[in-house]
Symmetry: C2
Subunit: 352 residues, 2 copies
């Protein structure tokens, strides 16, 4: 005979199943109350990634600069503090990095030790992340170096102007100037765009802007954990708040930075929040995120939007990773894995 | 001049960037302390899905039955309480449902109003979810009816034996008996497997078992939010605990049910936790999950595993959804979307 508690459990579960099986007609939306918890470092990722996941919340995440000069100083500090890592990565990855200008914009040309023969006439344009405000100059290079070395591609990294030098749409204008110059000498179908975070958003914004301007679109795009919605909409802004140790919270430094870039412009403009744009006609696009990523929602929302337009779009989500951790260190197996996927995606979809 | 707080913020962020840019060598893994929070219903999903997300935690989630009779009673209750929804869904979807047996196993044959001409010689085998213990008989039908109607496929739904009638590997044995009978009359490359939750795990286990037995594999598989790891490993077991309103917690009713099915067998056996199995040679596989899903990690871990074996595998993740909510009600736009993707995937990959 079933015990009393079992019958009670059976009844309550059954009642709920019955109630949830059809659309509830009257229940008003309500919030979910989640108790405090202590989340261990997962054992389901590489030991190297476990170290990254174990790090505390990013220091200073809730004390962003409050003045243009403060932001400028922080950007410069991100540059100088990144230099040792950029230098070491460049040596390990055996890529050549040459500064220059293209379309009137500062760039770096990153060349791998060996360009794959099938990539001889292909080129990638990389737009860096950093909330539209951080990671200038050499700090922009890790992603460009990773995809160059792992994919065997020539990469043009755009060192776009940032506030206070240039506010919205300065970054996008610079990226478009480089794109125009690139497609003047390389067939657009042989050109790929790649970027992460603000760079992931800029890649999508470049697609939207190219459509507005009647320019041909690139052959493929890689948008990593894009800041696709700067209005703070997106469920993982809440569910992964204080779980993501990089962005930490929708009320952190990155949103302050985006507002600094927008400079009073409507945050729902698709050229700042591209998830609201018309992406019809976009080329094949690969999207990357992590299960702890504050922007996981804003990544999957773009994926669904592209798929619902019938666009060939591929989503990869990494176990345990917070925002953009897949692009941090070339020695982490998951970094090789993520950029291996991106390289294969470009190889499949860019014209030869 | 930068203000004092800005300099401090710049310095702390910079120090952390420097510290995180290279692999930390000595930091011991530590837990993340996440404060209590109140998570609103996201506005970034359909109004119908908002109602599902707004529902409270599944009643009885932490009071599973403790006796075989209690589980049997709960299973029967899930069946009877599902009947009205199954009946209404069958009418709306205009599918024909016929009970029968195949390979000595109880099945339902689900036939759409119109079989797509290209699907005339194709068939799908569906294995239902319910933690290996719940949703017998008609309760197993919603997923079979959805893919039948949306994809235009003939579907054979397996009503496998469950404990206390049959413990591990009873469910798998029954599913394999049906699969053998199906491939005796239909070319395996024209056969697709589909299942969600325990059914998503069973689909993967069927692939592993077919390899062990030297049977040909199916043409494609759809594994929805699979219980791919019943050892409770997987980061979203923690990050989405109390966020997912269906499974709620790794210490809830579903894990108790899986243990009841395993009946003392090693939970790390790949035929119970298929993420630990050798999936080489698997056919193209589509995986589905949601950002609030307790099993998001165990979905993406399978995706990465398949991709690292070079297998064509596609991941779709839905905004704001807890475990398996995409398969609940045919009137929800996101349900049409998810099953539309699965149908297209089968159409692309099954032989004609």
């Amino acid at each position: 005979m079933p015990s009393g508690p079992s019958i009670r459990a059976a009844t309550t579960v059954a009642l709920l199943l019955a109630a949830t099986a059809v659309c509830a007609q009257s229940a008003p939306p309500s919030s979910r109350e989640v108790p405090a918890k202590s989340i261990p470092v997962p054992t389901t990722v590489s030991p190297q990634l476990q170290q990254i996941i174990a790090q505390p919340l990013r220091s200073g995440w809730d004390t962003p600069p409050t003045t243009p000069e403060g932001w400028k100083q922080l950007a410069e500090t991100t540059r100088t503090s990144a230099l040792p890592n950029v230098q070491a990565m460049r040596e390990r990855l055996k890529v050549r990095v040459e500064p220059g200008t293209l379309g009137g914009v500062r760039i770096y040309t990153v060349t791998p030790e060996k360009i794959q023969p099938r990539n001889r006439d292909r080129v990638l344009v990389q737009v860096h992340g950093g909330c539209y405000v951080l990671n200038p100059a050499e700090a922009a290079l890790p992603e460009a170096m990773l995809i160059s070395a792992i994919g065997g591609y020539r990469v043009i990294a755009v060192d776009y102007r940032m506030p206070p030098q240039a506010y919205f749409p300065g970054a996008l204008d610079d990226a478009m100037a480089v794109y125009r110059a690139v497609i003047a000498r390389t067939k657009p179908k042989r050109v790929g765009l790649i970027g992460t975070s603000a760079g992931g958003a800029l890649v999508l914004e470049m697609g939207l802007r190219a459509r507005q301007l009647g320019l041909p679109l690139p052959g493929a795009m890689a948008s990593g954990t894009p800041m696709s919605d700067s209005t703070k909409a997106g469920d993982t802004f809440q569910t992964n708040a204080r779980v993501d140790n990089v962005l930490v919270s929708p009320d952190g430094f990155c949103d302050a930075a985006a507002a600094f870039y927008a400079n009073g412009h409507d945050m729902k403009d698709p050229l700042i929040s591209p998830v609201y744009g018309d992406m019809s006609g976009f080329p094949p696009t690969i999207l990357t995120s992590g299960t702890r990523d504050l922007l996981l929602s804003n990544t999957v929302r773009v994926h669904r939007k592209l798929r619902n337009l019938g666009i060939d779009s591929f989503l990869q989500v990494y176990e345990g990773q917070s925002h953009a951790q897949y692009g941090r260190d070339d020695r982490i197996p998951e970094t090789q894995e993520a950029f291996g996927e991106i390289a294969r995606f470009f190889d499949t979809h860019l014209a030869r």
